[in-house]
Subunit: 319 residues, 2 copies
């Protein structure tokens, strides 16, 4: 297998099957992959020396859901982050007795190897105001910038049918906020309001003098798509006016490629440093039943190209 | 009484005492004044040929709260608008059995004289999505622009302690929305988050090529203050990106003038066409009990001056 042998067709051949909300990080020459599994019952990690090898390497279970109480249902969208030398897993989870009581939780690895070393639970992320993590909240991602740690998450507001917004805050530790929440984005446009009014699944990419933040919008069917925020790296990231929102989605269903409902992405890079976007999509748009329980969201890769200051995501296939 | 005899001291001499959320409109050479009364039990209108005369003219009760059910408690912040030749009153009200179930309601005048002609209830404002007017919602104002009627209101979101945001929508009639809600502003900054996270009391002023929207922020004590949004008149007012929010408040407590917690304003004009801002404030900052039930929010006037494209509100006293 040639590690640079990327081809661009057939585009809807999955990178990794049946793995949604895919997340890949690259550290010290190793790739780590995690994602939601269709059973929503555990956190898995795959590791390999090349992106391609992630496809066939063994998948390890590093944490399983509890039998009851918090973290016992709907184990969603894990992300693996190395923060000041320690590994953390961020994920969302419900309670078997209240399966939609979704909140963000944190695990910390006691050793240097996130696949084989033990993990301890640091519990639910702790807010710094009366509003954060009070309702359905998930998809926490974190990033460091100028010595500060920030997190971004999605949380629903309103009563009855609800609206999922994106919030940012500064953190004082990997599981505790230091600042009050700041509203970054609400579903403003028609493409963010299909079936459900949703902004979720934020992912951060530093490029040039800017910080880019993709997010996913609308319900989890073929209408699912990706929007984009960006800010100057020199700006105050906790000031919503530092962020510019694109008026149109930056990725959406590509029928000609057979890719439906692309979204919930993360960013990584090839071994030679090219920017890669990792996302999930389906190969069909007709879903029987609740899209959330359709197992066929597969992980895909796209190359990040640039059109001036805007990223363009070009689906690619790793042979 | 000289109708142009405005002096600028003492600044905290009220224009009209014990009237909060003051609203003045000027139509066909007459002024009409309405406001919240401390008892929150009725809607009053004063009318006069000059601004000054509003101070001493008789106040008429045009509508009283119901004994029970909707519109039976907390009658707040009436606004009088002439829309395509008919008079409407917008106000917020709760239910005696659920006093915080505040929603926006509309009255329509059956004649041409809003003071003496009968009013009929058009009921609660009807939304066009599953989110509008589902929770504590109030302070609806309306304006016409390019043949469309728009409304702006405040509504709380979240669970437990809540956040009051500002929304805009296009209307298909004076009591029914035509578009889905669009989030215009959330309390982003520290001055919008004192005691309560609040944006409310929007008021619209067209000036030059811009539409300006003031609003009030924080809890209703001395921390109450005014923020500002603005948009180009040629922009899509339903696109939140058309609106620019000022980073700092445009009016706040002026201790040296003895004016505390200024806010909940409206706009009118002098008889000779100068722009006037009408607001309420207290003469002290130490309030015993809930500020909401302190009756001493008085109506004041300020002149609107301009510093480039930004309005500056200069308190004035009408002799």
């Amino acid at each position: 297998m040639n590690r640079h042998n990327y081809i661009e067709t057939p585009l809807n051949q999955p990178f990794i099957e049946n793995r949604a909300d895919p997340f890949i990080c690259f550290h010290n020459g190793r790739y780590y992959f995690t994602a939601s599994v269709p059973e929503y019952d555990r956190i898995i990690i795959r590791t390999a020396e090349t992106l391609s090898q992630l496809r066939e390497t063994e998948e390890m279970v590093v944490w399983k859901k509890h039998d009851q109480g918090i973290m016992s249902h709907h184990i969603w969208a894990p992300e693996l982050h190395l923060i000041k030398g320690k590994w953390y897993l961020y994920f969302a989870a419900g309670d078997a007795d209240d399966v939609w009581a979704i909140r963000p939780y944190v695990l910390e690895c006691l050793g240097n190897d996130p696949v084989t070393d033990p993990w301890v639970e640091r519990g639910k992320v702790i807010g710094a105001d009366p509003f954060s993590f009070q309702d359905f909240s998930l998809d926490m991602t974190v990033f460091e910038h100028k010595d500060d740690l920030y997190c971004v998450w999605a949380e629903k507001v309103s009563v009855g049918k609800k609206i999922s917004n994106l919030y940012i805050a500064r953190m004082k530790s990997p599981w505790e906020l230091d600042s009050q929440q700041v509203l970054l984005s609400s579903p403003d446009y028609s493409w963010e309001r299909v079936d459900f009014w949703v902004n979720e699944g934020a992912a951060v990419l530093f490029h040039g003098d800017k910080i880019y933040m993709t997010y996913s919008a609308s319900a989890t069917g073929a209408c699912y798509c990706m929007g984009l925020l960006s800010a100057d790296v020199s700006s105050d990231l906790l000031d919503p006016q530092s962020w510019k929102k694109e008026r149109e989605p930056v990725m959406e269903t590509m029928e000609e490629a057979g890719l439906y409902g692309p979204g919930h992405n993360s960013f990584t890079q090839t071994e030679d440093g090219r920017e890669i976007m990792v996302y999930h999509a389906r190969q069909y748009d007709e879903i029987v039943g609740d899209p959330l329980y359709d197992p066929n969201r597969h992980a895909y890769l796209a190359e990040v190209r640039w059109d001036g200051e805007l990223p363009v995501f070009v689906p690619l296939v790793v042979e």
